[in-house]
Symmetry: C2
Subunit: 540 residues, 2 copies
């Protein structure tokens, strides 16, 4: 019979994260861009104080443990306070993606049963359009003082955040409860059907955040300043709002200022050492830096995820600007990152190109998560760096079922990610495609992502997308879409010739369509479904 | 009503630590000094393989989940395999301190109900003396191959580790069970009464180990090589045998070679970047380095704990050898470190002396642990850096009760440490004394540790100890014991005059006794109880 451990039985709760920071790193700073422009600056101790005031305010509105509170907000300090006040009280923080279609926003707010929604003034027009369709919301709170809280025509119950918390006590006894309690809820931006909710537990978030501080992941200490460009409304901003206070790192929140110039200036003025975002953001940032002959004086590391980072971008960061690139992988269903790339000590002597190729991979699993790739029959494929199959994931911060869903999405206890990947013998995972995007031709697979990356390496290509199109002989053949860089000429023959130098001959697309833009969805990803609808049978 | 999180419910188990390392960092090295001298070198993948073989071997001996397995061993690779095979199987790893008195060793082996004991050949004489008194032990396994396994007179059931595991399969399905299950058992070296057992859970160890990888604690990544001088037989070697595989750091195990020369040579030849040990070890190491005009070419950081590190030693490491010193605090009852010192970025411009003084403090709590200091009535004292009281601790890796004990040692859910400490407003804790060592004089307290540190700063002092001696007028007065450095002359007047320049006048000891040595116990600490017995009433 197993023997019981004789350790204190204390839950891992998010309230202890902010209280830890307030007690250990009370003077460490949070710097936040207000929605109306200026920078706001305070400490973790003050953040804790205001989170407790908000917890009292929410209780005053009649909310209790288990109730859902929505946010439609930028990365800013009031959003941060909301993170802790809501989850710390045992309520559920439902971060809404403002890029969702208004109909989907209405759906998720009602599905989550949000009782209160906190929003940034930017999104007042959005609130105006949806409020009447969200009958459960008893208060719409603008994350601003009274002077910056708009009146919204047709929405009676709008109030200012500062007015709401001002009269409240800054003492609040955070409740203790099971660490498996739901803390936060985020919906996928499913391209088909309604968004699906993922309910993160306190335990899952805390475990990811502690691990996230480690040198191979975010690497956070009091000597760091981290700027999450990844939005707090999506996948917990990769748990950075939780990891930074655990580590005592300075937290820099960019608010709505997500253009290259704003980000660069904030990074420089606040001594940012680490940042995290999707490839598009880094593209915009580098464009600004290049065009203005600037350099990074404090930035040491960028973390990238969400979609594949082009190698050319990795090369520029590493070689031109001496900023380390770490490519991670995670999804709404995995709380935050599940794997993280990076170079091992043995890579020191590698040629630059080999380094870039390695850094384009999504890396090793964090401790607490396991992965495998399986074939279409579900059999585990070898870790040989070549066998492609669907990526399966399980672990401490992986969902078990969707919110209010009947059927478990798991297969033998593993979550099927819908990604096609390879795993090398040393555990390094590389995303090759989405299961629905991979092109099956003559019994072989072509990775649409690899083809797109090859095209983007051409100096005249701004964006590229590849879909599989039904073909009478080969089952499917690739069709490429290209958006040219402004002022650049590029024709089909030239790009096809270029691709012949980059990929196997049978990978070269059968045709190229030049577009002015590509359809991009709520989380910044190209909507290949739209392309397929229009072009999916041009070869038949 | 609280809402349940919808995340996978997977336990934090030690078996997943070694399997994580084998899969992610399979080629990372473990280098181990054999008990008979040479270096042994293999990988985490091979360590995992052999741990699984040992798990099969233990099952073959008839052991099952919950059974206890003892070790009397150095820091080496077979001890490491035992860590994982035993705990991973759901058994209890009982690490015995070979420095315990044989009577105490017999007591702990019987109290823990060890079924098998694995020992290093060094300790064969010890085994010979105790085996007959440990009737529950069905096998004594020497951590060696057959050639290096001694026959022990009077002990029939001795076998070689290599012979034991050789025939076993390297496949073993680690069982899944509650993460609160007991994984390891370590006894305090209580100076009064029988040793008391602390039963660590899988959860407690894993949480400490993940947190231990963070930049502010051990700071471990695949770029690091860590050498734990802290013994694997005591307080889980500060969880380094668990943290290193989580981080993929190279692990260097020094075996019995704990003298300055052996440690220095191993550090240099294996590119060690981080080490951890008690002050005595660092004193020996620095003596060797100084005497031979050496320097550290790869060492970046030493972690120190167990007792107070003299400032002079901190200064030498920092300023002469450019090795960072981090002073931690923990005890058998806290699994590993609970707090860790270090300099914040704001300390960059401080004068060297201020840095050293700060680094002599035991630092901030790791996330997952809370501390407070209380007065003799149990009331919480202010965090003002001056109010001294008993240090109370609670958290994820703090014990709830001793093994097989009736009475809980907790007070309102907190563990009273028996240490006297202060906490500064920024959360930095400093141990000032043990409750039983603090000298109460005229209603005020004198810290014996501070007095000892002041004395050790004198160039002729090798060791110092201070006790409180009953005094008719002042209740207690300090009496100091000094061991001179070889070849140095020092008399009472000189040291007292020196102390007057270092501490308040009323702290200066009433008398000084010069000794050839101080009584040191099983964990390397001066046994003040022995001094008190002999000298405790010399002033009355």
């Amino acid at each position: 019979m197993l023997q019981p451990g004789l350790m204190m039985d204390r839950p891992l709760l998010l309230s202890s994260v902010i209280e830890h920071a307030a007690a250990q790193f009370g003077e460490a700073e949070i710097v936040s861009r207000e929605t109306h422009g200026p920078l706001f600056r305070y400490t973790y101790a003050q953040c804790g104080t205001r989170a407790r005031k908000l917890a009292n305010a929410l209780a005053g509105l009649g909310l209790k443990g288990g109730d859902a509170v929505g946010t439609i907000a930028w990365n800013n300090h009031r959003h941060m306070e909301t993170y802790y006040a809501v989850s710390g009280s045992g309520m559920v923080l439902h971060t809404c993606n403002p890029r969702l279609h208004p109909q989907q926003l209405i759906y998720v707010i009602n599905h989550a049963e949000d009782q209160v929604v906190l929003f940034d003034a930017t999104f007042a027009p959005l609130v105006k359009g949806i409020a009447a369709h969200c009958p459960m919301v008893r208060a719409w709170v603008c994350l601003a003082d009274a002077a910056h809280t708009p009146t919204i025509e047709g929405v009676a119950n709008v109030q200012s955040y500062e007015d709401l918390i001002a009269p409240c006590s800054d003492e609040f006894a955070w409740p203790e409860f099971d660490e498996r309690t739901g803390a936060a809820l985020c919906y996928t931006s499913g391209t088909t059907g309604n968004p699906k909710g993922v309910m993160y537990s306190h335990r899952a978030i805390v475990l990811n955040a502690i691990s996230g501080c480690n040198p191979s992941i975010l690497s956070l200490s009091p000597a760091d300043a981290i700027l999450p460009v990844v939005p707090m409304f999506h996948v917990n901003a990769w748990c950075i709002p939780y990891a930074a206070p655990i580590a005592g790192a300075k937290l820099v929140l960019p608010g709505p200022g997500l253009d290259g110039k704003s980000l660069y200036e904030l990074m420089e003025s606040e001594g940012v050492t680490v940042s995290a975002g999707v490839p598009t953001i880094w593209q915009l940032l580098l464009a600004h830096v290049e065009q203005n002959g600037l350099k990074f004086t404090t930035m040491r590391r960028t973390l990238v995820g969400g979609s594949a980072m082009p190698r050319s971008l990795i090369a520029k960061f590493m070689d031109t600007y001496q900023v380390e690139v770490r490519h991670g992988w995670g999804m709404t269903e995995t709380t935050a990152a599940a794997t993280m790339g990076g170079l091992m000590p043995a890579a020191k002597g590698w040629p630059a190109e080999e380094k870039h190729a390695h850094l384009a991979k999504q890396g090793r699993t964090m401790f607490g998560v396991e992965i495998k790739v399986v074939d279409e029959q579900g059999a585990t494929l070898p870790r040989d760096g070549e066998s492609q199959g669907e990526l399966m994931v399980r672990g401490q911060w992986v969902l078990s079922s969707y919110f209010k869903a009947d059927r478990s999405p798991l297969v033998d206890g593993w979550f099927p990610t819908g990604d096609i990947a390879t795993i090398s013998p040393d555990g390094v995972m590389q995303i090759r495609d989405r299961t629905k995007d991979v092109i099956k031709t003559g019994g072989e697979w072509i990775s649409s992502i690899d083809l797109e990356n090859a095209a983007v390496a051409h100096p005249a290509v701004a964006m590229a997308a590849v879909i599989g199109v039904k073909h009478p002989k080969w089952d499917e053949r690739p069709l490429m879409f290209i958006v040219r860089k402004p002022g650049h000429a590029l024709e089909k023959d030239e790009i096809l010739k270029f691709l012949e130098t980059q990929v196997a001959k049978w990978w070269v697309p059968d045709d190229v369509v030049f577009l002015e833009s590509l359809p991009v969805g709520g989380t910044g990803k190209v909507q290949k479904g739209d392309l397929r609808k229009q072009y999916g049978s041009v070869f038949s």
